[in-house]
């Protein structure tokens, strides 16, 4: 059995976030997975006990908008994705600029 995802284009992520926020969802987690020539990002949201998962495919050289303007707590997940995988996320409200994780080598999961 696999988790069901709603596939979202990277360029439409903020609209989707606004809708989820309006529908009363909270952020559960965000994470990245390395794939050939890019990343798969999974954003999970919850309402009561229900969970909804979004999947965004991102090319290696592309960037994605931060969702911290809509879900402020996303700053920890987005800084994590940047520091471990090198995902380029624009306009994180609290941006650690690569210093959330003090790893021996930069972007070790890339």
């Amino acid at each position: 059995m696999n988790t069901e995802y709603k596939v979202v284009e990277a360029g439409h992520v903020l609209e989707e976030m606004q809708q989820l926020r309006a529908d009363g969802y909270h952020l559960i987690q965000q994470c990245a997975t390395r794939i050939d020539h890019g990343y798969e990002l999974i954003y999970s949201f919850g309402r009561e006990l229900e969970a909804q998962n979004l999947k965004i495919t991102l090319d290696e050289d592309s960037s994605i908008s931060s969702i911290t303007s809509i879900f402020p707590c996303a700053f920890v997940y987005e800084n994590e994705m940047h520091d471990l995988f090198g995902v380029d996320i624009k306009n994180i409200v609290l941006d650690y600029h690569g210093n959330l994780y003090r790893t021996a080598i930069k972007t070790p999961f890339k």
Binding site: H26, Q29, F71, C73, D83, L100, F109
Partner: protein, 359 residues
């Protein structure tokens, strides 16, 4: 106008056994903003999927943390079992549930001890940890380990717990429950304790929801959300309601955790009464292929486990989102407006587990 200054708090601090750093922006003695920093000891355990096969990763998951080890083994196993469409035998589900509640009891009592130590009540701290030791003894008898249990496996559990041993545990838990009432009374009624916990570190229901908080930290702000209510493992066959408080201060967080310890005794009682006979595991054939994201309720809150597998014995990605990681944003909000002297206590009230966070 008050003068602003920045005080560094941590990563080494007497009340913090693990490294987390906060930059506290102060106006005189009041905190106006707190900026957290973690990552001092990040171990990159998730990356070990490249070197350990999907069965061996159960042991890696358990080693994420010494307090939450059982839950990490369980959460990872559940995610892989979903990918592989494995139905775990009922007896194994009950034993997993009993062990999860034992884990909750020892984790919450450990936290109570640390809290007492934090506000300088040494005898209460010692008494709490004396009680916790009894749970570790039972873990050792049941699994052979006191910290890392190695009882979880994909498809069930490695070792059965006999009905005689469960009956013996039940008697010991009954006795422990009586002993805990004395400690709970001190935590909840003592004037000196209340003076450190009441009316500090407020987090409203709306803030807790908006900031993605979880666990007792969330429920103490009036949100009745407990992932055990989804009915994973044997929880769907047990009768319980999430413990919560409407107040949202440090006292409420203490009260919720104490209620959850008593609730765990009740859940263990129910599970022991209902546990069926039968197999404890099923054979696992082939390799996982697919992806699944599952959630369980660890003692510190909702933990998320994501597995992506490609049909080989090495999975592509294992991701663990720990409760403390989710509660960092809520912590910074509770610190706003508090006195500098209350910062260590407020950090403690989220029950931070940096070992989990630095997986």
């Amino acid at each position: 106008m008050s003068k602003r200054s920045v005080i560094p708090f941590g990563p080494q601090h007497p009340v913090l056994p693990e490294p987390i750093h906060l930059d506290l922006v102060m106006e005189d003695e009041k905190v106006v903003e707190a900026i957290p920093s973690i990552g001092f000891i990040h171990r990159g355990l998730e990356k070990l999927v490249d070197k350990k096969d999907f069965n061996e990763m159960v042991y890696v998951a358990e080693r994420i943390c010494g307090i939450c080890s059982l839950g990490h083994g369980l959460g990872y196993s559940e995610a892989v079992e979903h990918v592989m469409d494995i139905e775990v035998p009922s007896r194994a589900k009950y034993i997993r549930t009993i062990l999860s509640e034992m884990s909750r009891i020892h984790s919450h009592i450990l936290w109570l001890g640390l809290l007492a130590d934090g506000f300088g009540f040494e005898s209460l701290y010692m008494e709490s940890w004396r009680l916790r030791e009894q749970v570790l003894d039972m873990f050792e008898e049941a699994t052979g380990g006191r910290v890392i249990f190695s009882i979880m496996k994909i498809g069930g559990i490695r070792k059965d717990i006999s009905n005689e041993m469960l009956a013996d545990f039940q008697k010991r838990f009954d006795k422990m429950e009586e002993e805990l009432k004395d400690i709970a009374k001190t935590f909840l009624d003592d004037v000196a304790v209340q003076s450190r916990l009441r009316d500090v570190g407020f987090l409203t229901k709306q803030q807790a929801e908006d900031l993605g908080c979880c666990g007792p930290f969330l429920r103490a702000s009036g949100v009745k959300r407990d992932i055990r209510s989804t009915g994973y493992e044997a929880y769907g066959e047990l009768d319980f309601e999430p413990c919560y408080s409407e107040i949202g201060d440090s006292y409420a967080r203490t009260e919720v955790r104490i209620k959850e310890i008593f609730q765990a005794f009740d859940l263990i009682r129910q599970a022991i009464a209902k546990i069926p006979a039968g197999e404890i595991d099923v054979p696992v054939k082939g390799f996982p292929n697919g992806e699944y994201l599952t959630r369980i309720e660890q003692p510190r809150g909702e933990a998320v486990y994501f597995v992506k597998a490609n049909g080989s014995k090495f999975i592509d990605r294992m991701r663990v989102r720990t409760p403390t990681f989710a509660n960092l944003a809520g912590l910074t909000e509770t610190l706003k407006g508090c006195d500098l002297a209350d910062v260590p206590m407020l950090v403690l009230t989220i029950d931070p587990c940096i070992s989990c966070t630095e997986r």
